[in-house]
């Protein structure tokens, strides 16, 4: 491969700064006392503590999964701190947020105030383990929409939390989900009441700041009958030499005629581009259930960060005529590894799912698409369309595809398409000869490859995602 292409895919991580705020951090280590302490700090009701302990005990007897096509040194779960928070707490308004933190968010391009008001986006920002600011709460309350830090929902809406927590991703689901259930510290909670179309995009930004801490956030979104919500999460972290663990759980529940659109722009620190040292381990369980008829859940993800990604946003299509969608762009550059995809479980009649996965590997990046489509016995006339495209940039990276299909009903219609392509020197030369620079050529080709997914993102974030791809692929030139 020529130097030009290699230069064009070199990247600088621009979110690698550390914010200097005082933190309350628990010493590393995990045991029942730590869990009791977390629960006590959060002044949780008894049922939450019980649930955490139950999860912890389950986790102790579980094995870390090894089936994913990623390799990393063994994680010492006793070396991680399970709680870290900026010292000043109990924030009543944005003015009370530590200016350093607000500065951090504006560096990330997330103005918490006016700009987002113009954009009509409500933001919940999770800094290390706690939510620091939720904007637009009042405006949303007028419509009966609940959008708040998870810990606040536990206090103010315990019935909803009790009813839905773990209903999609049980605490026994998998190793990382069990760990999350035991130690999660915050996250976002959303409830859209019957018949309400959420008046603005809801957005959460997650940031890991403190060293040697894990981030275990938990998000729960419930769309009641006939409601609609579009939710976006963004993630970044500082550059650090050691690996940091991020094990989140996201649960979505769509009732009758409800639609949930969940978009992710994930740009955790990917590790040192030259040595592969450091970076976030992103081990995430995301799942939604279309509980009743005519409901719809749509996942869109743009994944450019993390040293290792292990993530399969999935849909359980229980209600008749329900629809599940998964649109993904994943980029692995340098030493990044990703094993990602989706599962679509068809239970109801006339259920439909669409999977469009675009994987881009550059540098020494290794990427795996792993998808599962299951059509169960009673799912008459279920339909699935899957398309998995891989693009290779350079000759030291890898792309792997594992589509699993399990059909137990003869009326199912399944379509699967896959392709592998590469950005060749001849394509770059052709663009150059037409006056298009190498960097523009790479981004032109990559964006062309990804556009089916980008157009599924909310408008303002599609632009953001496109820029992010450019930053992740382009060299320092220009």
């Amino acid at each position: 491969m020529s130097d030009v292409i290699e230069k064009a895919i070199e990247q600088d991580y621009k979110y690698g700064f550390v914010t200097d705020v005082e933190q309350d951090t628990l010493p590393p280590g995990l045991n029942e006392d730590v869990i009791r302490t977390i629960s006590a700090i959060k002044k949780e009701p008894e049922f939450m503590l019980e649930w955490r302990l139950k999860s912890y005990r389950k986790w102790l007897n579980m094995e870390e999964p090894t089936w994913a096509k990623v390799s990393y040194p063994e994680i010492d779960y006793q070396a991680i701190s399970y709680y870290s928070a900026p010292k000043k707490k109990e924030l009543k308004s944005l003015d009370e947020v530590d200016p350093e933190i607000l500065e951090t968010y504006s560096k990330l391009g997330i103005p918490l105030e006016e700009q987002k008001m113009l954009a009509g986006v409500a933001v919940d920002a999770v800094f290390d383990s706690v939510s620091v600011a939720t904007t637009f709460k009042g405006e949303l309350e007028k419509h009966g929409v609940i959008f708040c830090p998870f810990s606040e929902a536990v206090q103010n809406h315990p019935d909803l939390v009790k009813k839905y927590l773990g209903s999609v991703v049980p605490h026994t689901d998998n190793f990382f989900a069990a760990l999350n259930s035991a130690v999660f510290t915050d996250g976002s909670f959303v409830y859209i009441p019957k018949g309400v179309r959420c008046p603005m995009e809801l957005s959460t930004y997650f940031r890991i700041n403190a060293a040697k801490t894990g981030q275990f956030e938990r998000t729960l979104i419930i769309a009641d009958e006939g409601s609609y919500v579009s939710y976006l999460e963004g993630c970044t972290a500082p550059m650090r030499d050691e690996n940091q663990l991020h094990a989140a759980v996201v649960e979505l529940v769509a009732h009758k005629d409800a639609t949930i659109k969940y978009s992710t722009v994930q740009n955790w620190y990917p590790g040192d581009p030259k040595t592969g040292k450091g970076g976030i381990y992103n081990f995430v369980t995301k799942r939604g259930i279309c509980l009743e008829e005519n409901s719809k859940i749509s996942w869109t993800q743009v994944e450019t960060g993390s040293a290792i990604t292990w993530k399969y946003p999935s849909c359980i299509l229980k209600g008749d005529n329900s629809v599940g969608e998964f649109y993904s762009v994943a980029l692995t550059n340098n030493f990044q590894q990703a094993d990602t995809g989706t599962k679509m479980i068809h239970l109801g009649k006339n259920t439909k799912s669409t999977i469009i996965s675009k994987g881009i590997s550059a540098g020494k990046g290794q990427q795996t698409y792993r998808g599962g489509v299951k059509i169960m016995k009673n799912a008459d006339n279920a339909r699935n369309y899957s398309q998995c495209d891989s693009m290779l940039i350079g000759n030291q990276c890898g792309a792997h595809t594992f589509p699993y299909i399990d059909v137990r009903n003869p009326s199912a219609q399944m379509e699967h398409e896959a392709s592998t392509s590469s950005i060749g020197e001849d394509q770059i030369y052709y663009c150059n000869q037409r006056g298009i620079s190498t960097e523009d050529a790479v981004s032109l080709i990559v964006n062309g490859f990804c556009k089916e997914v980008f157009k599924k993102l909310p408008m303002e974030f599609a632009v953001e995602a496109q820029k992010l791809m450019e930053v992740s692929l382009e060299g320092s030139v220009g």
């Binding site: 030369y429 052709y430 000869q433 006056g435 032109l444 062309g448 490859f449």
Partner: protein
């Protein structure tokens, strides 16, 4: 416009071009004819700036040496090459690609970029000249195009980008007679007194429609004979072996 001085080109120490001198003035169309492996396409790529060659001698474009320049800088300066094998770029919309190229060139010339509407108006005019359907604009660059469609797409780019110097690298190969006429008409549309063309070909056919001012016969890395249209006819008739004597 283009001046080539004592050009020697090697690939992996094997000499392909063995001393070429050539001057092409504005308004002229030069044709280079020659057998396979005579170095014609190498010459085209060396002018447009492809990497991987060891070069001595020099090439001047509008009085300035271009050998140290990147392919995109040469393109922005006004050098265009119609590829013998146009490259497929899946996923990238043909019109979008052309707009990116045109706006890069306009920026380089200090002109305002065209917006989507103005570009569309322009491209719809241009595409008529090569008798292509407008649906080709919304397809991916050369993706699934037939050989002839790819060549027409190259000429569409030529007509849209309006470079000052165009190299046509075997643009006629693999075309039927109708397609050949369309290509020749497109090229004639492009020609004017401020522009120059270097057409590389095996056959006289294309030249019948384009009427070159100068014809060169190339053999074994050298220009062995230069003449007018009568040389092209002679080569078509007698082949190339008589040139050796």
């Amino acid at each position: 416009m283009l001046k080539i001085k004592n050009l020697h080109v090697s690939i992996d120490s094997k000499e392909i071009i063995k001393g070429i001198n050539l001057t092409i003035n504005a308004g002229e169309l030069h044709a280079i004819m020659g057998r396979n492996g005579s170095g014609k396409s190498t010459l085209a790529h060396v002018i447009s700036g492809k990497e991987g060659y060891e070069i001595t001698g020099d090439i001047f474009f509008n009085g300035e040496s271009i050998l140290g320049k990147t392919p995109e800088d040469r393109a922005l300066a006004g050098i265009f090459m119609s590829f013998q094998y146009p490259v497929v770029i899946p996923g990238v919309n043909n019109a979008y690609f052309l707009k990116a190229a045109l706006n890069a060139r306009r920026r380089a010339k200090g002109e305002a970029e065209l917006d989507a509407m103005d570009f569309l108006t322009l491209i719809k005019e241009k595409i008529k000249l090569v008798e292509m359907d407008e649906s080709y604009l919304s397809r991916a660059v050369n993706d699934g195009f037939s050989g002839g469609e790819k060549k027409r797409n190259e000429i569409l780019q030529l007509l849209t980008l309006e470079p000052t110097f165009a190299i046509l690298d075997e643009t006629d190969s693999g075309l039927d007679i109708d397609a050949l006429k369309i290509i020749a008409n497109g090229v004639n549309e492009y020609r004017n007194g401020d522009r120059a063309i270097l057409a590389i070909t095996h056959y006289q056919r294309l030249l019948d429609y384009m009427k070159p001012d100068v014809v060169h016969a190339m053999m074994d890395g050298k220009i062995v004979k230069t003449g007018g249209m009568e040389l092209a006819r002679e080569l078509e008739e007698k082949g190339y072996s008589w040139l050796v004597d």
